[in-house]
Each structure stands twice: as structure tokens, then as C-alpha cells.
Symmetry: C2
Subunit: 367 residues, 2 copies
């Protein structure tokens, strides 16, 4: 790419790092005999999706039925919609079912019955399990609830049981790599036990697990039928902070024009605000909120400054960088800085396209 | 609108409330003899823009040159781009200058000189003042810096000085309505003094002030040449929390399908996450983060429940509502709730269009 040609905020995608992230995760799944069903909610791009195809991926995960439709139109035919199913979308689902193998998520008897009443054709369903995250799903230890829902699925006319699915989002609250691995192994253990318990009624049921911290730090996925990580494709500051990755694995940055340099306030203002980064933040050890980290953009990617420099406040369009003397010396009005995002999934949603380090423009899904 | 036809998250715009917000602010400006130059970064819609035209608005404010171009294409011809000017965009600016009267913001000698060197045609410029917010702009009390920059503008070949502009973003940190009014009056006072001081050199220079809390709570704008509030068009929970408005003035809500009901956790999950509301939050008196407030959607708008119910956590696509017995009794899987956003400007950026209470679909600018 030519940074000299960038005049407005752009989302830069480092092709080489991204492809290497894909290769590594696909390789680990293959070595474990585990189906790799990556979550496409992070990149939301048909172009990046094609890089997954190159390593043999044919099954994917998305976070809405609209996103499923968008990838189906690009030729993807095996899709899990990883949200408790929205009963208002049954007709939309039925439009898509003839075009692809779609699997939906269920976590209550009411949803099973509501769906079964409205459906006129079969659809695959996973039971969404809560293994400690506490967002959605049936408690993994709530045998009675599991029993009730599986019985309802078994009795339903249109739902075909695919297996047990969980998202261990509580790895995001872990304070060490060891804790992430420990949580992940415990979750895998519980899920395997569940599968075994229901083997007689559902011999083909699988277990599906997926969160980037766990999938990045587990040595292998043995005994897990399917993994669904998404964020690993780009990683971000939050993942680096958690220990899921080294910063060299982060594959996206926002190119941000410098709008103002204020040595008296020790700040630099860039055109890179809440509408570019999202308002997701992490905190440093002093409790200061960080919204992004500054890198030096080059035509082939970016370099990390010797001293860490952060975006510490965001308005709608402005990012405020807490500067240091090195930064103040290095830049002029109209310079271009790179800003590594805290949460790449949300940053991607702020843009309509990527500019790749190899100079391509890749469209991003817009619902 | 027909809520029964809504199947996915939609951004609902209450036409009646919005038009009344516009009418009130325009009326106050008119009564004060002040030019009303509303900031369009909140609604980013040509449809809503046309409602401003109905009350006589012809001059507007935007937050990027791309947004300016989009409104120019819809016939707007007098536009202030309220960000310190990005020197990388000079050619883009020159493409737009023949089509509209554009005013840009400057806050350093370097920017004046950099611009003047690159420009080949005249452009109006405001001096961006910092009256205590501390984001961008020249300190209002820094007489020497003001002197240097105004001299540079005066000597420049292409910059035509329009006046002094400030955004009193520090009203957002005020703890009472009285404090907001006090800050606003002090800022107005300082700006008036500045204008007077430079009257001989720049007799046509104006002062321009604009923030929703201040413009909402000041009784009138006497002595202020121009006001540029933006958020007031919709307001939101943050503004209500600040005291800028009553909740009856909030004009947008996200329609959110219910995906899961969890009496055992006292939560409800809706399809309304960080990609719909943004991750902006306010805190309640117990320090709990709030990302949105639940209302009952109707075909003509919404009603506020007797007890306050909030979204207390967000994932990418999920919103987690801290429920109460009334909510748990009132809804079923597939129900539709309204979620009032914390920050309407950022929520608008998450959507491609509004669905109005009168059943229209209005496109939202996508950069």
C-alpha cells in the first residue's frame, strides 16, 4: 500500500500476519482431528473468508442470520448462527435453508416449541450450554433443564439435534494464561462428559467450543469435535493484554491523520474517534483507560515505537493521544499514525472496507 | 410503523419528538437573533436534514469532509467542518469548494502555513478555541498564541477569517444543570471579549458556540452569533442523566428482539449488542454500568415502564438486561423491546437507516 495516498481514516489489514494467524489455528485444529469452524463475525469479509478456504475451511460460524445470508451469497454452505435463535426470523431462515446447511442455537423448551410450531422444514440445532460465562445457555450442571430441552428437541418435528455448543466468554476475565488454559480444559471436560451421557439418544451429537483466548493457548483440541474461534484472525490489544497472543500477531490498525499537536498539553489529536475504534477500552496498571496504541505506519505494515504510546480519550471523530517527547518530535501536522485497536471485531464494524498492506480493498459486510 | 413486521434490530426514530426538538432549538435561536447552524453528525440523514430546512435552517455543521460532501450532494451549501483541518485533505477540499461555502477549523500557525502553501483557492477559517475542555484548540487565555495564529491567518493568501469557534465539551462533566449554565455563560462571556478585542482587524468575525447541554439549558443565546448543537435532535440517556432534557424528549430507540429469558439469572438477552448501541455507558449511583434503558415499543413509539430496567452488559450482538419480575412476566421468546441508547450519535453510526414511527425508512450516511 502507499501510505502517502491515504487521506482519511482507513482500516489497514496486514495480509501476511492475518494469513499466518489463519494458518496456525487451522494447523492446530487439523493436528487435533478437530473441525475448524471459524467465527466470521470478526472479519466480516468475503475476501478474508477466501483465505480460510485456501487452508481447507468449508464450515463457518456467524453471529446473525443476515450475516449468514451474506456469506451464503458468496458460496458458503455450512453455517452455524451462534446466537440463541430469534423466533421473529423463522421465515427468513426458511428462505435460506434450501441454499445452505444452517445450524441454529436453542437454550429453552419455549424456543424449541415456538420454533417447531412455526417451521415447515427441518433445521439443525445445537443446545447452547453455559459453562460458567453466565450470558446465555443452559447451565452445564443443570441436568433437569438439559433433560427437558433435549426431550423437547427429540419430540419436535423439525429440529435435528447436532450437539452441544458453548462459548467460554469467561476466559476474557482470566488474569493469566494458565487460568485461561485451566478454564478451557475444564469446559472441554464437562462438555465431553455431557456428550457421553447423551450418546445413546444422540449418537451423532458433537461438542463445539470456541473462544479466542482458549483456542490460542490450548496446546491441542483433542477430544473436542469442533472449535469456533473468531478474533484470532486479527487479534487486538485486549487479546495481547489477556496473553492470548504476542503483539506481533495483531493484524489490523487504523491509519489516522494527525489533526493537532499540543506540546503544552502533551497531546496529539488524530482523526480516529469512537466512530473508528469503537469505545471499547482496557485499563493500564494505573487505572487509565486505553482506547488504542500508536504504531509507526509504513508501506508494508507498521512498527512498534520503543516506548508505548496510547490513545487515552475518544470523542466521536477525535482520538486524543497522550504523547511523549519522541512522538512530538517525530510528527508534523498532516502526518499519518497507526492506531492498534483494543477490540478488532468492533473496530471492523466501524468501517466499510479494509485497505490491505498488499494494496487491495476488501469490502466489509454492512447489515 | 408496524412493530409486528420488525424481525431484526432496527433503529426507531420518533418523528414527532424529533421535529419538536428541532422546532424548539430553532425557535430559541431565532428569538435570540442567533444563527442556528446545527451539527448534523448526530442524525447523519438527508431525511432528518430536510426537517431542519422546514424551519428555515440553511447553514450546517459536520464532523468530516466526507460528511460535508454527502450533504453538499443533497443541496446544502453552507457548511462548517468542525474538526481541526486535516492537511492530507486539501485536494478533496478543493473539489468541494466550488460547490459550497465551506468553513474549516484552524488552531496552529503550522496548520495555517501548511494549508496556505497547499491551497490554490480561498477558504473560510475559524480559529478553534479551547475554553476549558482541553481537547483541541488554542487556550482562550493564551493571548500570545492567538496573536500569532491570527497574524498568520491575516498574512495568508487563501484563508479568510470567519471568527472564533469553541465546543464546550466540559459541560458533559458538569454535575448539575446550574453548573452547565454557569460554564456556558462563562464561555460566552470569554468569547464575546475575544471578538471585541479583535474587532478592528476582523470586523466581520463572529463567535460560534455549540454543545447540546449548554444550548439546551441556556434561556437564550443573546450576544452569541451562532450556535451549533447536534445531539439535541435526538437526545439520549447521557443527556437525560446530565439534565439537558427530560426523557420525553429522547427521539430514538433500538427495536430489539428477545432471544432468551433466564428467570434463574434474572436476565433477558436481546439482539442488541455493542454493534447496535456502541459500547458507550453511564453509571448508576451504585457504580453499575448502564448501556441502554428498556421501553415498551408500540406502533406509534414507546412507553416507559413504571420501574426502570437497564441493559447492564453488552457483547458484540447480545445485550443483557437486568430484569425484574414485571419484565419477566410481560415478555415471551420473540418479543420486541425498545432500548433507549446512552449516546445517540454513536448508536446512529451503527445503523444504515432509520425506521420512523410514521413508517418511513431514512438512509444514514456511511463513510
Amino acid at each position: 500500500m502507499h501510505t502517502a495516498q491515504i487521506i482519511q481514516p482507513e482500516l489497514i489489514l496486514n495480509t501476511q500476519i492475518c494469513k499466518e494467524n489463519i494458518r496456525q489455528m487451522a494447523g492446530k485444529a487439523l493436528a487435533s482431528g478437530t473441525l475448524f469452524r471459524p467465527h466470521f463475525k470478526t472479519h466480516q469479509s468475503r475476501g478474508v473468508a477466501s483465505w480460510f478456504r485456501e487452508v481447507g475451511v468449508t464450515a463457518i460460524t456467524v453471529s446473525s442470520l443476515r450475516m449468514a445470508a451474506w456469506f451464503i451469497a458468496a458460496g458458503w454452505k455450512d453455517i452455524t448462527v451462534a446466537m440463541p435463535f430469534n423466533l421473529r426470523e423463522v421465515s427468513f431462515l426458511e428462505e435460506l435453508l434450501p441454499k445452505a446447511r444452517i445450524h441454529i442455537l436453542i437454550d429453552s423448551v419455549e424456543a424449541v416449541r415456538g420454533l417447531d410450531r412455526r417451521l415447515s422444514m427441518p433445521v439443525g440445532a445445537f443446545l447452547k450450554m453455559d459453562c460458567g460465562y453466565g450470558r446465555s445457555g443452559v447451565g452445564i450442571d443443570d441436568g433437569m433443564a438439559i433433560d427437558r430441552i433435549l426431550t423437547a428437541i427429540h419430540q419436535s418435528e423439525h429440529l435435528q439435534f447436532r450437539g452441544f455448543l458453548t462459548h467460554s466468554g469467561h476466559t476474557y476475565h482470566a488474569t493469566s494464561r494458565e487460568e485461561i488454559v485451566k478454564i478451557s480444559l475444564q469446559v472441554a471436560q464437562k462438555m465431553k462428559r455431557l456428550k457421553k451421557r447423551w450418546f445413546r439418544l444422540f449418537p451423532d451429537a458433537i461438542i463445539s467450543i470456541g473462544d479466542t483466548p482458549g483456542c490460542s493457548l490450548m496446546d491441542d483440541f483433542s477430544g473436542i469435535d469442533e472449535v469456533r474461534p473468531g478474533n484470532f484472525v486479527f487479534y487486538d490489544l485486549m487479546q495481547e493484554n489477556l496473553g492470548s497472543c504476542d503483539r506481533s500477531r495483531i493484524a489490523v490498525a487504523v491509519a489516522a491523520p494527525v489533526l493537532g499537536i499540543y506540546p503544552e498539553r502533551n497531546t496529539v489529536i488524530v482523526h480516529c474517534g469512537g466512530v473508528h475504534l469503537s469505545k471499547e477500552s482496557i485499563q493500564n496498571s494505573q487505572g487509565v483507560k486505553l482506547f488504542g496504541q500508536v504504531v509507526w505506519l509504513t508501506d508494508s505494515g507498521w512498527q512498534w515505537p520503543a516506548e508505548e504510546i496510547f490513545v487515552t480519550a475518544l470523542s466521536q471523530e477525535h482520538g486524543i493521544i497522550q504523547a511523549n517527547p519522541g512522538l512530538l518530535r517525530a510528527i508534523q501536522h498532516g502526518a499519518l499514525l497507526g492506531i492498534i485497536p483494543v477490540h478488532s471485531c468492533l473496530t471492523v464494524r466501524c468501517f466499510s472496507e479494509y485497505l490491505t498492506t498488499t494494496g487491495e480493498r476488501l469490502k466489509i459486510f454492512r447489515p
